[in-house]
Symmetry: C2
Subunit: 226 residues, 2 copies
């Protein structure tokens, strides 16, 4: 008779259970097919087929084939936004952002799959666009959550800041992908990504000291070790 869940974590109802399983099956099938046949051969029908569901059901779960692949990124960014919300409210946003990201980047196993999806998007314009949208929605979410913490006059400054933070995050991923064209799955590469994410936010917080102090960046390129 209790319509409420008996124990929230144990059995969230058979229905929810099945849905989660189907979702996972689709996502798994997509990644498997991608691995085996390459990006070009990835079609909605094949994925649905491999997942054991109808094509229509796939579209009931995901709005597009690319969205299936993109799921890890959206999950990650959702957690990132949530992490920012839960920080102590009396912290200046510029500090809170660094803290939140530090906590998030710590979960390296989540980061690994996200990084994987990120490099995947390099050869797939549709997926790349979808990821840009995901980053943007993350920014909107963060802005929404934090706008209550700042006075109204600072609303625009907050908006700019949040976009800059998210931009910094993307820059970190991008530079990271460029630096590790081949070994992006290695532990060292992962550690580098974590480092870059932190450095990016610190540079934003500190106002880009290296760039600001540039006086004579001569085209003659004063050679330095990389």
């Amino acid at each position: 008779m209790p319509s409420a869940r008996t124990s929230t974590s144990a059995t969230p109802g058979r229905r929810e259970q099945n849905k989660a399983a189907t979702r996972a099956a689709i996502a798994g099938a997509a990644r498997r097919l991608l691995q085996d046949e390459g990006a070009d051969a990835l079609t909605a029908e094949k994925v649905a087929d491999a997942a054991g569901v109808s094509r229509r059901t796939l579209f009931n779960y995901f709005p597009s084939v690319e969205a299936v692949l993109n799921a890890p990124l959206t999950a990650f960014l959702d957690r990132a936004a949530a992490g920012l919300e839960e920080l102590p409210a009396d912290l200046p946003p510029t500090i809170a952002a660094v803290d939140a990201l530090a906590a998030l980047a710590g979960e390296s196993e989540g980061l690994a799959t996200v990084a994987d999806v990120f490099v995947l998007a390099q050869g797939n314009p549709q997926l790349a666009r979808l990821q840009l949208e995901a980053w943007d929605q993350c920014a909107a979410q963060i802005h929404e959550a934090m706008s209550a913490r700042v006075p109204a006059e600072a609303g625009f400054e907050l908006a700019v800041y949040v976009h800059a933070v998210v931009g910094a995050g993307r820059a970190a991923f991008q530079s990271w992908a460029e630096r590790h064209p081949d070994d992006h799955r290695s532990a060292a590469a992962l550690a580098d990504l974590q480092r870059l994410l932190m450095v990016a936010l610190e540079q934003l917080r500190d106002g880009f000291p290296a760039l600001r102090n540039l006086t004579t960046p001569h085209p003659g390129t004063p050679d330095r070790e990389s």
Copy 2:
């Protein structure tokens, strides 16, 4: 009979002339149809029909229907990137960005159509994604152009900075659209957009002073010492 152009700016060849005309016809038809029939009724066939070309030709000129509408934004961002390149090389990037944007925002008539396209994307996810891609490509272009000006060890800092700048630009557009839900075509609104763009970059340059100095952000919350 001379194979060289008679006057380089006047007649760039009949072929180029026709192509430009077709391009303009397609873009015009798209905007007209959008105005008249609404976003939902906008289909490739209708646009091509209204432009007096075949559907196939439309796709020879633009990769998608949304790209037709997006043309003004890409043009604007291309000019923005180009403007940054042409600035004196001995200027610190943090200053150069502000200068370049100031020059660009001055051409208010270009800005107007861009702003128009921006609000258009609010109700059209495909177009919105395409615009995000355009901003991103702009960032890549700027990064490419300026990376020669900074020492190699500042390359990553530059990447972060460029992304932050572009993010700031987007934040300005977004906040602007929220502030002018109805009058976004008025001269006052346009002036406000110019102002926001400048303010956004200044805040980035100055390190978000208002956010950093926040001590008691909660309007209804008694401040506690950290």
